[in-house]
Each structure stands twice: as structure tokens, then as C-alpha cells.
Symmetry: C2
Subunit: 159 residues, 2 copies
């Protein structure tokens, strides 16, 4: 098992990724139960099945089990088995000091949402926030990718 420790923020503006080349990701879920999510992800030419356990109380840590699988299998799993809608995004990696930020620019049903995640060696690690970083949303379950299947960002603004 790995333990994933990360903090998550909204992104104020796209200056951080301008000129960078990202990785297109297409992912879907076979379970969106927060106690046991099952994600299938195509990331460029590679593919993974990832299972995550319950988030810790503050939402920053989760047990995570990830296995690489053949990309052809992942395509089929996404096309045939995964819950709708799929999550589509482009991921950019940006170094800032000793930390690496992953900035996800969502498209499709979650168009308009841009989030930045930083993976940490421990929950106590101090994080210097670049100026493009906005509100922290760590532990806000609306922003879990699994939640964006059941309640996509586009629907947040409909009344």
C-alpha cells in the first residue's frame, strides 16, 4: 500500500501552465463510494487501475493501491463498465521549490474547473503557495474526482 498525502487548491489563473505541455487524461470509476473508490485512468499511452480507501478526517490522507494495466483493457473498461460521465482533463506538472504541483484543467462535463494538487511527504510539511493558487479545497468532498462523476462541475451553476 501507499499512503497518499496531498493538499488541493483551486487555481486562480492559468498563467502557471501557459506554454507547458500537459498529459491528456481520461478516467472513470467502477466505484465512487468514498470508502473504496475504484478508478480506471488512461494517461497518455499508459493506463492504471487505482483503489483508494476512506479519506482521513481532514481529507489529506488516503490508502492507495495502483496497478498498471494494458491501455487496451483500460479503454474497454472506460467504454463499457465505468460510470457516466467520464472525467476528462489535462494534467500539467509544475515545480515550485522542492514540491511538484499537478494542475488539472478539466474539460467535458467539468469544463471550467481547474485544480492544483501537491503531494506531501507528511501532513506537517509546510507548503509555500505560488501566487496562482486560490482557495484550499482539501477535504471538500465535492472536489473529489469521484464526486465529479455524480455531480459534475457544470451542474454546480445551474439553479
Amino acid at each position: 500500500m501507499g499512503i497518499e498525502i496531498e493538499r488541493k487548491f483551486l487555481v486562480r489563473d492559468l498563467s502557471a501552465v501557459s506554454g507547458l505541455t500537459g498529459t491528456r487524461m481520461r478516467q472513470g470509476y467502477l466505484s465512487v463510494d468514498p470508502q473504496r473508490t475504484v478508478r480506471v485512468r488512461l494517461a497518455g499511452p499508459r493506463a492504471y487501475v487505482t483503489m483508494k480507501g476512506a479519506p482521513s478526517d481532514n481529507g489529506a490522507s488516503r490508502a492507495e493501491y495502483e496497478y498498471e494495466v494494458p491501455a487496451g483493457d483500460a479503454e474497454e473498461l472506460l467504454d463499457r463498465l465505468a460510470l457516466r460521465p467520464l472525467i476528462e482533463k489535462t494534467r500539467y506538472r509544475v515545480s515550485a521549490g522542492r514540491l511538484v504541483w499537478e494542475i488539472d484543467v478539466f474539460t467535458g462535463e467539468n469544463e471550467g474547473l481547474v485544480m492544483a494538487e501537491v503531494e506531501l511527504p507528511s501532513e506537517a510539511t509546510a507548503v509555500a503557495l505560488p501566487d496562482w493558487v486560490g482557495e484550499e479545497v482539501t477535504g471538500d468532498d465535492r472536489y473529489y474526482n469521484a464526486s465529479l462523476v455524480s455531480y459534475p462541475y457544470r451542474d454546480w451553476h445551474r439553479v
Copy 2:
């Protein structure tokens, strides 16, 4: 992807497995949604994550994706993430003609249930039934292992 084609029967008596050595299996589910089940299985020293799609109309065929994973990961997935109860059984393999039967003797919450499955090259394959074979339950969703989590066999007889 593989397509799993199988027929499933109750077992009349345990004569078929007497004297045989079986494999202890402990398995659990991260999704019991019949459209997308996710199973973690420990089978002796080896372990697998298996995803299955919707059963065909007659219940005999399902898309199946299986990946071997480290046994230590599977132990943790079963202990920490899987839905309760876990499924415990001993599986015996018995050859009959050109076909191989898998006979599952359940313990734990499904004690008393004994099922035999035969995997087939096509749905049209004729199956000679050994005399220990009882009622066919192919397509009866109560007998899916995933269903035995939500409604274990022991509870079938409680009023």
C-alpha cells in the same frame, strides 16, 4: 478483455470432492454493482483484482478483466476496503470428460452453500452433467458471489 462463459449448478453431495485437496479462497468486493463488480481474491499464495461487466441476458457470459497483484496488497484491500462480509470458500477442481468443474464449498456467512461452475468455450457447448450435479442456477443473481455479500446464504433460511 476476456469473455467469461460459464454455467453454474448447485451440488447434490460432496462425493465429487472427497479426498481432493482444494485451494482456500478469501475474497471481497469493492463494488457489487452487477454492471461493474470489482473483486479482490486471495487464492492460496496468489492474489488477483478482477473486474466484471454486466451479465448477458441468460447470465452465462460476462466481460472479465483480471490482474495479478501482490498478496500483501490484497490482504490489506480485503481487511480495510472491501465490503463486509468477505466470501470464504474452498475451491476444488474436478475433470469430467473434456471439461473442468470448479466446486466451491463455502464457509463463514455462506456455510452450507456448495456450487459447481463449468467454464465453456461457447454458450452452445453441450455439458454432460455428472451425477453429483443438482439444480442449474446460471443467471440466478442470488448465487452471484457479489450477491452473497449483500445477502449471505445463511440468511436465506431465516424468516
